[in-house]
């Protein structure tokens, strides 16, 4: 129950940050996908099932606030969330550098999957946001690994 509430809080925080940044700067909001960040972190911290469900929830929220096919972002984020949790159990991604690389790879995977599916469905191609969308994996990796480190330190201090 506690894990579900933490995941729900993470999804709500992602939505709030997405809305706030869309108001402040459209360019910034195109180069940083808060939903993907939340999904990967939930997958890392709570496991593959939490990551999958969080991915579905975040993806469906993104799809309901965009025109186009409902379900594409959901598919991409569900897989990303699941794989983040599953791979992190088999490979040690706790050291900062590995964590940074892992989150970057998962964010790139989600972006590639979403763009691939969109390109199949939308004949006019994918909106690149003048190239800003390609910054997403980098920014997600940097912020995600910082947050992951912060959350782990916070948990360690509390457990003491």
């Amino acid at each position: 129950m506690r894990d579900a509430m933490d995941a729900a809080a993470g999804i709500l925080a992602a939505f709030i940050f997405y809305t706030v940044f869309r108001k402040i700067s459209v360019s910034l909001s195109e180069s940083l996908n808060f939903f993907t960040l939340a999904v990967i972190l939930i997958g890392l911290l709570k496991g593959e099932m939490a990551g999958a469900f969080a991915g579905m929830a975040c993806g469906l929220i993104v799809d309901s606030f965009s025109l186009g096919v409902f379900g594409i972002a959901g598919l991409a984020n569900t897989l990303t969330g699941y794989l983040s949790g599953a791979i992190s159990k088999k490979v040690n991604v706790i050291p900062f550098a590995r964590n940074l690389a892992f989150i970057g790879i998962m964010a790139s995977f989600e972006l590639a999957l979403w763009m691939g599916m969109s390109a199949l469905i939308f004949t006019e191609g994918v909106h690149f946001g003048k190239g800003l969308i390609l910054l997403q994996p980098v920014l997600i990796a940097v912020i995600g690994s910082g947050l992951f480190l912060g959350i782990r330190k916070y948990k360690a201090q509390h457990e003491k």
């Binding site: 709030i16 869309r22 579905m56 993104v62 309901s64 606030f65 409902f70 379900g71 006019e124 191609g125």
Partner: protein
């Protein structure tokens, strides 16, 4: 449940989630652009959060304007008073001109209808995946908004039309720069009719279905809505022709720059009356 069974169940649950979303995607095909109840439900739950955040921003801005930035507020007030004076003079001259061709009572009725048909709204959000596709406004069904109403910006330029999902207090507006939009327009100078569609990528539009043998259209011409699609009233400024070319097909390749300014899209007006009742 033993650990091994739990581990075996996980890929099955993932497969179930993926199949569920594939079904959601497949259900879109017969529905076309109409949204499902599921999508509307999610929009209904989360759009008030956007509205709340927008209100918070507005309140913070209001505190700044009212108590801190008073010098600028005074300057803005003066400028707005001057503009209001100019607009009143212009309005008076236009009314005098119209009264020559219309009875006074009929004119007063028409102008009252026009005034009543505008529902002003704030833009509280944009499309989550592509900002040239749609925006969210803070008016919904309880304000009289429904699917398929024309939306203009504060200068009277075309923004797009309302589409589903429409919730109680929020509505999605499909922009004219969306690649799935199609608006019947004509050029003001030469009356060349075409369909304006967005490119969905860069905020530009294309004017489609103008035959390649048509010599009349020129670069720089203004395009306005024609009302042939029965959604947009006639005469709303849509864009200006930027370039005209051919690609060997039956139709010309005409690029159009819309008058819509994405950097200044905070307030819009929804035209709650349909074309045949407005003009």
């Amino acid at each position: 449940m033993p650990q091994i069974q739990r581990e075996r169940r996980k890929p099955l649950v993932l497969a179930g989630l993926l199949v569920f979303q594939l079904i959601l995607i497949s259900l879109q095909v017969p529905r076309g652009e109409d949204s499902s109840y599921f999508e509307r439900g999610i929009f209904f739950i989360f759009s008030p959060v956007q509205r709340g955040i927008h209100s918070l921003f507005e309140k913070m801005g209001s505190v700044w304007r009212r108590y801190v930035d008073l010098r600028n507020v005074e300057k803005q007030n003066r400028e707005m008073k001057d503009e209001l004076f100019r607009l009143r003079q212009e309005n008076l001259q236009l009314r005098n001109g119209l009264e020559k061709s219309m009875a006074k009572q009929a004119l007063a009725r028409t102008l009252a209808d026009v005034r009543a048909s505008f529902l002003f709204a704030s833009v509280i959000g944009a499309d989550a995946s592509n900002l040239y596709k749609s925006i969210i406004i803070d008016k919904g069904t309880r304000d009289g908004v429904s699917n398929g109403l024309a939306v203009v910006d504060k200068y009277g330029n075309l923004v797009g039309r309302t589409i589903n999902p429409v919730s109680l207090g929020e509505t999605t507006v499909q922009l004219l720069t969306d690649d799935n939009s199609g608006i019947s327009v004509y050029s003001k100078d030469h009356r060349v009719v075409g369909v304006l569609a967005g490119d969905g990528k860069s905020g530009a539009c294309w004017l489609k279905y103008v035959q390649s043998t048509n010599p009349d259209l020129a670069v720089g011409e203004e395009l306005v809505t024609s009302s042939l699609d029965r959604i947009f009233p006639a005469g709303i400024r849509a864009g200006r022709v930027v370039s005209i070319g051919t690609d060997g097909s039956l139709f010309k390749r005409i690029s159009v720059r819309p008058f819509l300014d994405f950097g200044d899209l905070n307030f819009v007006a929804v035209l709650t009356q349909r074309p045949d009742t407005l003009f």
